[in-house]
C-alpha cells in the first residue's frame, strides 16, 4: 500500500543517516492536560512534545482521548487543567490561525462551490482575498480539483470531497497540520497520495500530527509516534528508538531440512522470557527477551541441522502498540 516514492525517500533518509530537519526543538508542547466530561476522564494528565518539522503518528484505542487532545490543541475543548504551548507560548487565536485542522467528522458547506469554499476558509485564517483565491487555486491544482472548481460540494464524489477537506486544512500553509484519521475511508491510491503529500509538507518544514488505526501505514510513514491510552501518553518517541528500547525481540530460525516435531524444545525453554509463536518441522518463530545470548541460540540450532535463515528483530509497531496499551 505504501508508495514507492515514500519508500524511496525513507531509504534516502536512512542512507544519509540524518533527517532533513531545520529545527529540532519542540514546537508543540502539551503539558499535563486534563479534560473531564461529567464523570468521564477524557484526558488524564496528557503530556507530549512534537519537534518542528516532524511527522508524528498519534495512536491509541478507541476512546483513548485522541480527538479530545486534537480539539484541545485548537481551543475547541477548554482543558480543565494543563497547558498547550506553541513555540513556548500558550496557544491563542494568533497561533490557531497558523494551525490547520482536518477533523475526523469531515464537514464542508454542501451548497458552496469548491474554489469559493477553499478561499473562504483561507480568509477565515487571515489571508487577504487575493491571497486566499491564489492559495485555493494552487491547492486545487495540486490536489487535482482544478476541473471541479465551480462544482458544488454536494455534487462531488466522496474522494473529491476528501480532497477539498484537505485543501481547506492546507489553504493557509499552516505551521502545524493536525489530521484526525486522515486515511479512514480512502482507497489505496488515495492513501498513497495523501501519505506522499504529508511527507512533502514535513520536508517543507510543516509539523504534522495525525491519528490513525492503520499501524502498518504509520510504521512506514512516521519516524515519531505517540501512543495514548485512557487519556494518558503511555509511549512516545522515535519509532526506531522505541523499537530498539522494547524489551522483547522476535526470533525466527529456519533449518535446511526437517528436524522432527518441536525440535526447538531442546534449547528454547532455557532462553530468557521465551514464548513460541508458531513452528513446524523446519521453522520456529518465538519472542524472547532482549538479553538473549544469540551466539548460544545459533549454536544450539546449528547442532540440530544447517541453519538457512536466522532473524532477530525488534518488535513491529503493532506489537509495541499492543504491549503499551495492554499494560
Amino acid at each position: 500500500m505504501i508508495t514507492a516514492r515514500i519508500l524511496h525517500r525513507q531509504a534516502q533518509n536512512r542512507m544519509t543517516g540524518t533527517a532533513p530537519r531545520v529545527h529540532g526543538l519542540p514546537m508543540l508542547e502539551v503539558s499535563d492536560v486534563v479534560k473531564r466530561y461529567g464523570d468521564v476522564l477524557a484526558l488524564d494528565g496528557c503530556s507530549l512534545r512534537v519537534p518542528a518539522g516532524h511527522l508524528v503518528g498519534l495512536l491509541g484505542p478507541n476512546g483513548a482521548g485522541k480527538t479530545t487532545l486534537m480539539r484541545t490543541l485548537f481551543g475547541l475543548v477548554r482543558p480543565d487543567g494543563g497547558t498547550v504551548r506553541w513555540h513556548g507560548r500558550p496557544v491563542d487565536w494568533c497561533t490557531w490561525r497558523r494551525f490547520g485542522y482536518m477533523p475526523e467528522e469531515r464537514g464542508l458547506y454542501p451548497g458552496m462551490r469548491v474554489a469559493e469554499q477553499i478561499a473562504y476558509f483561507g480568509r477565515l485564517s487571515g489571508l487577504s482575498s487575493r491571497d486566499a483565491a491564489a492559495a485555493a487555486g494552487r491547492w486545487m491544482d495540486q490536489l487535482g480539483l482544478a476541473s471541479r472548481q465551480d462544482s458544488r460540494i454536494d455534487r462531488l464524489s466522496h474522494g473529491n470531497q476528501q480532497r477539498v477537506q484537505l485543501a481547506v486544512a492546507l489553504v493557509h500553509d499552516p505551521d502545524l497540520l493536525v489530521l484526525d484519521e486522515p486515511f479512514a475511508g480512502l482507497d489505496p491510491v488515495a492513501v498513497d497520495a495523501l501519505a506522499g503529500l504529508m511527507h512533502e509538507l514535513c520536508e517543507a518544514g510543516t509539523t504534522v500530527l495525525f491519528s490513525s488505526h492503520q499501524l502498518d501505514l504509520v510504521e512506514h510513514l512516521c519516524e515519531d509516534v505517540v501512543i495514548l491510552d485512557k487519556g494518558r501518553v503511555v509511549l512516545a518517541g522515535r519509532l526506531s528508538e522505541l523499537r530498539a528500547r522494547a524489551p522483547r525481540r522476535r526470533l525466527e530460525v529456519t533449518l535446511a531440512k526437517d528436524a522432527g516435531e518441536r525440535w526447538w524444545e531442546r534449547w528454547s525453554p532455557a532462553l530468557p522470557g521465551a514464548a513460541v509463536v508458531d513452528g513446524d518441522a523446519r521453522r520456529v518463530r518465538l519472542t524472547v527477551d532482549r538479553s538473549v545470548d544469540l551466539e548460544k541460540v545459533m549454536a544450539e540450532a546449528k547442532s540440530t541441522a544447517e541453519v538457512v535463515r536466522f532473524d532477530f528483530e525488534p518488535p513491529s509497531l503493532s506489537e509495541i502498540f499492543r504491549q503499551a496499551v495492554r499494560s
Partner: protein, 404 residues
C-alpha cells in the same frame, strides 16, 4: 495577515462570516422571489386601497312607475350628500324590478308605497340613503294632501344642520387599524422567517460538521454573531425594499384618510424589526445549538417558536383594546415590545417616555442575551449526538461526549 487576538480577531471573523451568510442568502432564488413578491404586494395593496378611497361607491337603483313620485330625485340628492354615486333607472313594474334585483343588475329597487326590495340583507351604505329618500317622498305627498304649499313643504323638509364633532374620522380609524395590523403581520413574519433561518443555519453547520473546521479558525462569538448579522442584513435589505416601496407608493398615490404620521411610522417599524430580530435570532441561534440534527431543531427551538406565535396572538388581542393597561405594559417589555409597541403607536398616542423605556429595556435584553446565548452556543455547538438539555449546555458539561 489580518485580525489577531482579542476583539479585533472576533470582529474580523464576524465580518467574514456575515459576508458569506449575506451573499448566500441574497444569491438564493427563494430570497429573490420572496422580495419581488413582497414589494409587488406592498405596491399593489396600497395602490388598490388608495384607488378605493378616492372613488365614491357606485350603486344602481330601480324605481317603478308606482313608487312615490319624488323618490328618484330624492335618491340621487341624498346619495350625493352621503358621498355615493347612485344611478336611478326606471322599471316597468314590481315584477320587472324584482327580476332586476334578482339578476343583480341593480342593488335595490323602490316600488309602490315606498317598498324597498333587497336581494338579501340591506346594504349598510345604501340602506340609510334609500330609507331617507322614501320617507322624504312620502312625507312630501302627505304634506301636499294636507294642503301645504310646495314652498312650505320644502321649508319643512329642509335638512336640519346638526353640528357633529368626530374625534377620529371613520376612515382614519379604519386606516389606522389596517396599518397596525399590517405592521404586526410584517414584523411577525419577518422575525419568524429570518429567525428560523438563523436556527436552521446553526443546526446545519452542526449536522454537516463544518462547525468544527470553522471553530478551529474563528471564535464562537464570530460565528454566531456573523451568522445573525449576515442573515439580519439580508432580512433588513428585504424589509427596507418593502418599506421603501410602500413609502413611495404612499407618496405617489396619497390616499385620502391616511392618518398623519404614517410615513414616519415606517422607519420606526424598520428599527423595531432590527431590535426584534437581534433579540429573537439570538434565542433561535443559541437554542438551536442544542440540537445536532435538523429533526431536533424545531424541538430545541420550540420555546422561542411558541413565544413568537404567542406574541402574535397577543398583538391581535391588543388591537381590540389598544388603550388597556396590560397593552401599555407589554408594549414596553423586551420580548413583546418589538411587535406590540409599533402596534400601539399606530393606534393611540404613546408618551415619549414609554418609547424610551421600551427601547432601553430592549437594548439591555439584547446585551444580556448576547452574553447568555453566546455561552450556551459556545458550550453546545461542538456537542454531537442526542439533543443537549439547557442545563447541561449552560454548565458546559455534556454528560456523554460523542468523541474522546
Amino acid at each position: 495577515m489580518n485580525g489577531g487576538t482579542g476583539p479585533a480577531g472576533v470582529w474580523w471573523g464576524l465580518v467574514l462570516v456575515a459576508r458569506r451568510e449575506l451573499a448566500m442568502r441574497v444569491r438564493s432564488t427563494a430570497f429573490r422571489v420572496s422580495t419581488i413578491l413582497l414589494v409587488a404586494a406592498a405596491v399593489a395593496g396600497i395602490a388598490v386601497a388608495a384607488a378605493l378611497l378616492r372613488h365614491p361607491q357606485r350603486f344602481t337603483v330601480a324605481i317603478t312607475a308606482q313608487a312615490p313620485p319624488a323618490v328618484a330625485a330624492a335618491v340621487r340628492a341624498d346619495g350625493s350628500a352621503a358621498g355615493l354615486k347612485i344611478t336611478a333607472v326606471t322599471a316597468a313594474g314590481r315584477a320587472a324590478a324584482v327580476r332586476s334585483v334578482e339578476q343583480g343588475r341593480v342593488t335595490a329597487a323602490v316600488a309602490a308605497g315606498g317598498e324597498i326590495i333587497w336581494k338579501a340583507g340591506p346594504s349598510s351604505t345604501l340602506h340609510p340613503v334609500l330609507n331617507a329618500a322614501v320617507q322624504q317622498a312620502i312625507i312630501s305627498q302627505r304634506a301636499a294632501s294636507l294642503g301645504l304649499s310646495e314652498g312650505a313643504t320644502a321649508r319643512l323638509l329642509a335638512p336640519v344642520q346638526i353640528p357633529v364633532t368626530q374625534l377620529h374620522s371613520q376612515g382614519q380609524r379604519t386606516a389606522k387599524s389596517a396599518i397596525a395590523y399590517i405592521s404586526v403581520l410584517l414584523l411577525y413574519l419577518a422575525i419568524a422567517t429570518y429567525g428560523s433561518y438563523v436556527l436552521t443555519g446553526v443546526v446545519e453547520e452542526k449536522s454537516n460538521r463544518v462547525v468544527e473546521v470553522l471553530l478551529s479558525r474563528v471564535p464562537p462569538a464570530s460565528l454566531l454573531g456573523g451568522k445573525i448579522a449576515g442573515i439580519g442584513l439580508a432580512a433588513l435589505a428585504q424589509f427596507l425594499a418593502v418599506a421603501a416601496a410602500a413609502m413611495a407608493t404612499l407618496l405617489v398615490t396619497r390616499p385620502s384618510g391616511l392618518p398623519p404620521g404614517t410615513l414616519a411610522a415606517i422607519p420606526a417599524l424598520v428599527l423595531w424589526f432590527v431590535a426584534g430580530f437581534a433579540f429573537y435570532s439570538m434565542l433561535y441561534g443559541s437554542l438551536g445549538s442544542l440540537a445536532s440534527r435538523a429533526e431536533d431543531a424545531q424541538a430545541a427551538a420550540g420555546p422561542v417558536i411558541a413565544l413568537v406565535a404567542g406574541i402574535y396572538v397577543l398583538a391581535i388581542m391588543a388591537m381590540g383594546n389598544p388603550g388597556a393597561g396590560w397593552v401599555t405594559i407589554v408594549s414596553m417589555l423586551p420580548p413583546t415590545a418589538p411587535i406590540i409597541m409599533p402596534l400601539r403607536s399606530a393606534l393611540v398616542t404613546v408618551p415619549a417616555w414609554q418609547i424610551v423605556a421600551a427601547v432601553t429595556l430592549m437594548l439591555a435584553a439584547i446585551c444580556f442575551l448576547f452574553l447568555a446565548g453566546g455561552r450556551l452556543y459556545q458550550n453546545a455547538v461542538l456537542h454531537t449526538g442526542a439533543r443537549l438539555r439547557l442545563r447541561e449546555a449552560w454548565r458546559g458539561e455534556p454528560a456523554r461526549p460523542a468523541h474522546r
